[in-house]
Amino acid sequence: MMAFKPVILWTDALLFLLVAALLAVAWHVGRHEHLRAPWRKVAESRTGMSAAVLLALFVAIGLLDSLHYRPRLASDGGTKVYAVETRSVFDLLVGPLRTQVEKTYSAPLATHLFSKETVDLPGGGQARLYPRLAYGGAHLEDPQRDRAADLARRTLAGLGIAALAWNLLLAGVTAWQARRRDETFGRTWRALWAGETRLPWREMLITAGVVLAVAGPVMAVAGHYHVLGTDKVGQDVLYLSLKSIRTGLVIATLATLVMLPFALLLGITAGYFRGWVDDVVQYVYTTLNSIPAVLLIAAAVLMTQAYMGLHPELFDTVQQRQDMRLLFLCLILGVTSWTGLCRLLRGETLKLRELEYVQAAQAFGVRSARILTRHILPNVMHIVLIAVVMDFSALVLAEAVLSYVGVGVDPTMISFGTMINAARLEMAREPMVWWSLASAFGFMLLLVLSANLFADAVRDAFDPRLTTRSTTRVLFARLAARGRT
């Protein structure tokens, strides 16, 4: 008897397919020295790897949030009844965040609602006052007296656990490195903190430490308070922000997945075959490119929206409708955004096809399809990779703007865009409801910034034409030289 029924949404399936594909690629790269070399350079980048730690955390949250299921309701007499609502493993893990819903707005860590209400006094009569929250600080007897002490106690406990976890992590990493380097624990420890390990372990561990130092207290407090307040319908803003990560990740990765085949196939064939193939491909991408991106996306989304409105029978649950719309959005973003990469690939292939090794292959009578996959494709992969990582952050940012315009994700879906959209209407309130906006923008900044920094590290490692070495490296090399003289 299963207590739940797994639900695999389309985006879940694609996301995990993508993870599997990435693992396969990683395994393939790991077995080939020439493919591994640039990745090693990425792994040696200090900012890149610190960003990667943060990014890994976001991806982990996003993936946990992609394991969906429908819990079983109390079954009456053998028939199994499953809840209409689809939940994710992430929802299960953060339990109270999802269920502790207040009436309406409340400020971060507040114990009272944000707006006054008429309440019946116990001794008879009524009064206008700020009512206590149903969950936030509900365990306190006298919030005014006890709140600060209670918060301090919980924060300290959280920090303590975080410190413990960080020390365990430190010890684990050092012991593992000591084994790999075949050195004593003490010497490895010193090397690690002196920044002499090949991978920037020091920076990565510091990043992990900062993450733990924030996450620990937040986790300790979140069960009894709304750390980032609540929104209009009383939902915890921290929960909404964390759920938005998945939406952002899905859009950023799946849109790329859709875009890649178009760009690769058309770009390479146009560059390689030239002639009429090239003419057709160039015509198609100039035409698509000439339509303003937002308008093309808007038109396409409006049409799918109309289509989904006309065919409500296609979707069982609200989540399925949301998911279908998200998938369509990814498709549309992918179909409208392949032109830039396609042009780059065409240009590079035009250059590659004149090189000796390609001409030699042609002279030997190798079939075109084989030349394309064997000789051209591997040699344009660095362009593809750089474009993909650079697009990632742009797509996360685009989601918010599109949702604002009204052509983004389903309005009932939790995303940074819908959060900002809802909170924007409260700008005029006095005093202002700032926490929804601040957390949406804050989480978005963290996600996009870490993606950007990682993308820079990848570009520095993979772009052979990059004549300018990264500023930081030049600067540090100079400082080091100055120190030596």
């Binding site: 000439s290 937002v294 049409m303 940074f416 600067l475």
Partner: protein
């Protein structure tokens, strides 16, 4: 030169036809006019007469691309495609759902859009190029490092944040300019300052970084080394040689957007309630006024293609190495 121009313009025609076909397919094949009528009238239980009346009102009561019931040219002209899409080639956009002439709306609404887009564009360009030059001049120093870090951070912030933050800080907290709105004539300036400022600030990260890369790439070329070897001061090298050559790639990226300035910015205009083309488009999207959206798509593509032709022309003007083929 003249023949080259003619060829470029002629090349644009098939692209515009393509745009037209794509938009037509998107708006009429994904959902048929009957579906759209049912959706607009609400729900499944709509009478056939109501659907026909809706289609007749909108002018959709014709076959989509081929009218077999008519004779001669009318077989092609008396269709939805010809009446609604092909007419855009002569800039006849028809009427929106509110019954107003779309062409007239575009002509009156483009001025507010231009009033914001042109200053944003010019001030922005000047700022970004100066910042990028500054960073390039002090490359591989702490100033450059700080600049690059600032740029990456600025790039990572949502454009919505700049708008909301700017409105809150400048209009609400400091009370310097009105939050939103528009006025005719010269009084409009106080409504324009904030959108222009935010537009410039919002683009600073990505643009400065992009121009810095272009400048630094140019600084590694051989002629720069020659100039330095001759003993020219660094400022002369930078402003006399690098800047002029680096402006060529900058130009190609910039000229193409000039015509599109007419369209204004969707988000900026709707946040600041400026009656330009951007807010017109947003309203149309929210009201699902497909006639207006189609017109704006066509106009946008047309302006982009004008931009492409202008880019080619400007290339030949600034770079004597480019020849007309």
């Amino acid at each position: 030169m003249f023949g080259y121009l003619i060829r470029r313009v002629l090349y644009a025609v098939p692209i515009l036809v393509g745009v037209n076909v794509i938009t037509f397919a998107l708006f009429f094949f994904v959902n048929s006019p009957d579906d759209m009528a049912r959706l607009a009238l609400g729900g499944k239980h709509v009478t056939a007469e109501a659907v026909e009346k809706w289609k007749a009102d909108k002018g959709y009561d014709r076959p989509l691309i081929f009218n077999a019931a008519r004779e001669g040219m009318a077989q092609v002209t008396d269709t939805v495609f010809f009446q609604k899409s092909a007419r855009m080639f002569v800039f006849d956009f028809g009427r929106g759902d509110d019954g107003r002439d779309i062409g007239y709306e575009i002509r009156t609404r483009m001025w507010p859009s231009l009033a914001i887009a042109v200053p944003t564009f010019l001030v922005g360009l000047a700022c970004y190029i100066s910042f990028a030059l500054l960073l390039a001049l002090f490359r591989a120093t702490y100033l450059d490092l700080a600049g690059v870090i600032l740029c990456v951070t600025a790039m990572s912030i949502s454009s919505l944040f700049y708008i909301i933050g700017g409105q809150y800080l400048v209009s609400k907290l400091w009370n310097l300019v009105p939050i939103s709105g528009y006025d005719t004539g010269l009084d409009a300036w106080k409504f324009l300052v904030l959108p222009v400022l935010i537009g410039v600030v919002g683009g600073v990260g990505a643009s400065t970084r992009w121009y810095r890369t272009i400048f630094i790439e140019e600084m590694h070329k051989d002629y720069v080394r020659t100039a330095r070897a001759k003993g020219l001061p660094e400022s002369r090298v930078l402003f006399g040689h690098v800047l002029r050559n680096a402006l060529i790639p900058v130009l190609t990226g910039v000229v193409v957007v000039i015509p599109a300035l007419f369209l204004g910015s969707l988000i900026m205009e709707s946040f600041f309630a400026i009656p330009g083309l951007g807010s017109y488009t947003i309203e149309a999207i929210n009201n699902q006024d497909y006639g207006v959206v189609r017109a704006m798509v066509f106009l946008g593509s047309f302006l982009y293609i004008v931009g492409l032709v202008l880019t080619d022309v400007s290339y030949t003007l600034v770079d004597p190495r480019v020849r007309f083929e």
